[in-house]
């Protein structure tokens, strides 16, 4: 496998392989000196056209723990400010000799576009509303670490599904691994079409909470909302927020997850985010190991890696797959290369 752009590139077998390899990197992360020489001499560049704390730092730490060199691209102090196009920026960076580009952009499909321009590996670290595959992988790993498997688990994905790339990648990955997913959201925060999503949809959170294994709370993405989709955040919290009262409805062994960053007091109550059954900090910790596994599988395999047979879209979920050509479908709020924000 050369690029990781979408969960559907991996398929169920590919996800399982990433999980299995991640076990080894969790062991590496637990050592006194958590570093292996596996990717010595490789260079990984983070190309983030959108803000990020955990994903950017997590990729950087993963690359460093594999002994790869890392470079960071700070949008605000780059030539993008002088009007350099995305394509020129990518090709300039590639000309310096990099092995992987980790790309985040506010427009859907940009990682596909970048992959068509450059020869190095491209990892999608989040494109608009579309996909965030490494987040889905670390979520699967976190659930698997606690429950052994996702097969037959009931997972409720709650909140702003419309603007959530985490939800799109997550639903794909969870269902590929055999989980039953229920989406809980107000109708205005559902995607325009759910055709092809193998999920149940409801707006009754309390009814769902009593019978789930995992409640996955999404961030309210105020920065992507261009119109009034909710009467008020307080009303949203009253009906869809994970409050202490609602946590009491959950089965004893249910996990509470959130991709971060948390809007405390909006989609999740402050004290709920910190309860023992909350897996939020474990998600972050596993994120480093999962990204080590992804970088190693992309860069450490030579010409014909074990995942090479798994490229390409697979099966029943094609209705929710992203751009088949670059920049088609599921478009984010802004145009192809205008998503730069300081």
């Amino acid at each position: 496998m050369k690029h990781l752009l979408s969960i559907s590139d991996l398929g169920a077998d590919g996800i399982e392989e990433v999980m299995r390899v991640t076990d080894s990197f969790v062991e590496v992360s637990e050592r006194a000196i958590p570093r292996v020489p596996a990717l010595r001499g490789k260079t990984v560049v983070s190309l983030f056209y959108e803000e990020s704390t955990r994903t950017r730092l997590s990729f950087e730490m993963a690359a460093k723990r594999l002994s790869a060199d890392t470079m960071n691209f700070a949008l605000s102090s780059s030539s993008v400010k002088k009007g350099e196009s995305l394509r020129d920026t990518c090709q300039t960076i590639e000309a310096m000799g990099v092995d992987a580009l980790v790309v985040r952009h506010s427009s859907a499909g940009v990682p596909w576009q970048v992959a068509s321009w450059v020869d190095c590996s491209v990892v999608n670290a989040g494109d608009g509303w579309h996909e965030h595959p490494t987040q889905a992988l670390l979520d699967c790993y976190t659930i698997r670490a606690q429950r052994g498997s996702l097969e037959g688990l009931r997972i409720a994905v709650v909140g702003d599904v419309k603007h959530s790339r985490v939800a799109r990648s997550g639903v794909l990955a969870f269902t590929l691994l055999g989980a039953e997913v229920t989406i809980v959201a107000p109708p205005t925060l559902l995607p325009p079409s759910l055709v092809g999503w193998p999920v149940e949809v409801t707006s009754d959170l309390d009814g769902v909470l009593t019978k789930v294994d995992v409640v996955y709370v999404l961030r309210m993405q105020a920065e992507r909302q261009t119109e009034a989709l909710l009467p008020s955040l307080r009303e949203y919290t009253a009906r869809y927020g994970l409050t202490r009262d609602r946590v009491a409805l959950l089965p004893d062994d249910a996990m509470v997850m959130h991709p971060g960053p948390i809007n405390r007091g909006v989609e999740i109550a402050s004290d709920v985010a910190d309860i023992p059954r909350s897996a939020i900090t474990r998600q972050v910790a596993n994120g480093v190991a999962v990204r080590m596994a992804v970088l190693f599988l992309l860069l450490g395999q030579g010409p014909s890696g074990p995942l090479s047979g798994m490229q390409g879209p697979s099966g029943p979920l094609s209705g929710m797959q992203g751009p088949s050509g670059p920049l088609s479908g599921m478009q984010g709020p802004s145009g192809p290369s205008s998503g730069a924000r300081g």
Partner: protein
Amino acid sequence: MAERERAATPPYGGVFSARSQVMDAEDLRRAVTRIAHEIVERNHGLDRVVLIGLQTGGVPLARRLAEALSRIEGVEVGAGSIDVALYRDDIGLRPVIPEAVTDIPFDLTGLTVVLVDDVLFTGRTVRAALDALNAYGRPRAVQLAVMVDRGHRQLPIRPDYVGKNLPTRIDEIVDVRDDGVDVGEKKVRGPERPSERAN
């Protein structure tokens, strides 16, 4: 790494096909017992001696050696396992995948470590293992025990304990199992099984 598995990893491809048996289960048992005695003799007992099996072929052998040692000396010997995939020098040249999680539940500083593998061939796996051991402390000494030394070394590495010296052709494959040792070839298989892995 067991040769049988490496043989099944692309681009090597092919499946192992045994031609002749060079050790049977009894030979193997006697070799394990002899190596165990040699370890005790060389180290004047088992004080601060631990066994580390190389994933995956060396791990069952390390377990058998640990059992034999505790039978002989009446003390428990620490046993761990190590996966050297992340330390190999051919990462990027061929597909390298961690086979299993490393399990070394003790600090190696000051201990005598006996590395255990099934087959010693080029020596590159052992070099990677020596590198990997550094992450777990500074052993007092490192020794190497292998069931079969088949020659063709590419690095200045030699075993301290050998089950059987077995001259081979470079394209032959040696397969060590619990019930014996076979020599054979790999048979190239069809392209319809792209991602299959051993075990």
